[in-house]
Amino acid sequence: MSADQQRILVRAAREVIPGQIVNLGIGLPTQLFHHLPEEMEVLVHSENGVLGCRPRREGEAPDWDMIDSGGAYIATRPGASVFDSAMSFAMIRRSRVDVTFMGAFEVDEIGNLANWKIPGKFSPGIGGAMELAQKVKRLVILCSHNDKHGNPKILHRCRLPLTAERCVSRIITDKAVMDVTPAGLTVVDIAEGLSVVELREATEATLNIDERQLGRF
């Protein structure tokens, strides 16, 4: 894992409050699993049908019937339950998941999210992202600020097919923490060592920045 990814995860872990129900999307968000202390009373929901999963401890034998939605063998913590896919998504559509962390291809100023399809290049399916994005109370995006070619992923408007409209609450990248507000994107934190000018250059979206209120991470 890169230092940038590590920075995103450490910052993201601060978003979780004890007593919450949390869903971790495939990819980087899944790694957040390892940043939630086992003694913290948080139940991690995985949409394949488990509430209260935890990573296996070192040397702990896998249970072939226990995976998360990414296919990794997981274990459970006290208070866990298992259930079918209808129940699992009822929980999602009824907004009983407090916060979901998800990756993104693109996010935009009004909180639109695109993370499931690149027409002609990538369309393996939708999975649970659409329901999670549309219905979760708080959607936090964890992604690199720019793609591997350096192109901005935080856009004025998404160009790829949307996962859901106006669904994102907060975006955490290697460069900044941004909130989606009625006035557009407001920068909450900026990465250590990065200037506001550099951040704006790496971003297509218009960013509201009040330098007096800006945190570092």
């Binding site: 007593g19 459970t76 259930f83 009824r94 219905k135």
Partner: protein
């Protein structure tokens, strides 16, 4: 939603959150699964102008029968009130507004809310009075009824076992509408005979995962007296 760590409550405190005029789903089919203790606390606290959603009206002097008798129920959404002559009398006097649905449709209207749907499309009741009261749709060459989801502000449910996160296990025919209502209401208050530490309920045996439950209270098992009053054929 209530944090997992803050769900275990005193019954007085849990019921005190219910205002006058609230819509309340109440679990139970006959006596089994009826949250008697929560109902009695609601009776004691005095909330009025209530809309109740329950499969049946219990029997005179039992469960929601007490609330109806005390004039605290403005409207009852139900499937059958045949075992409660007081409820029938109140309905006939115009003091209790009663809306009737076929039992399975009532269950599914609640389940549909619990699943986060807006409505479902059914052929049940087509060709009967039921169909005259609802919006219809032409689909695939036939006429179907549209049944909107049925939500409520609160649900009062009864479980055999719970943990303090709000995971619930029902017993016997006491399940009935309880798990459906637990998914459909905004605030879900569960009573259980035992409220245990998280980890004590077997994973696969949990019927209602804690994500749906707002508050859990521990109650003493109902006396057989309440049970005995149920009609025995």
């Amino acid at each position: 939603m209530t944090l997992l760590t803050q769900k275990f409550r005193l019954i007085e405190e849990a019921i005190a959150a219910i205002p006058h005029g609230a819509s309340i789903m109440v679990g139970g089919f006959g006596s089994p699964g009826t949250p008697f203790a929560l109902i009695d606390e609601l009776l004691a606290q005095g909330q009025r102008d209530l809309t109740l959603i329950k499969n049946d009206a219990n029997e005179p002097g039992i469960g929601i029968g007490k609330l109806i008798e005390a004039g605290r129920v403005r409207r009852l959404v139900t499937s059958h009130i045949g075992l409660n002559r007081d409820a029938i009398a109140a309905m006939n006097r115009g003091e209790l507004e009663v809306e009737l649905f076929p039992q399975g449709l009532l269950a599914e209207k609640i389940r549909s809310a619990g699943a986060g749907h807006h409505a479902f499309i059914t052929d049940i009741g087509q060709g009967t009075e039921i169909a005259e009261k609802r919006r219809e749709i032409e689909l695939d060459g036939r006429t179907w009824g549209i049944e909107p989801s049925l939500y409520a502000d609160f649900a009062l449910v009864h479980a055999e076992r719970a943990d303090r996160y709000g995971n619930l296990i029902y017993r016997g025919t006491a399940s009935n509408f309880n798990p459906l209502m637990a998914m459909a209401a905004e605030t879900v208050i569960a009573q259980a005979y035992r409220v245990e530490e998280p980890g004590s309920l077997p994973l696969e045996a949990i019927h209602t995962p804690c994500a749906f439950v707002s508050q859990v209270v521990e109650v003493t098992p109902a006396t057989s007296e309440q049970g005995r009053r149920v009609h025995v054929s």
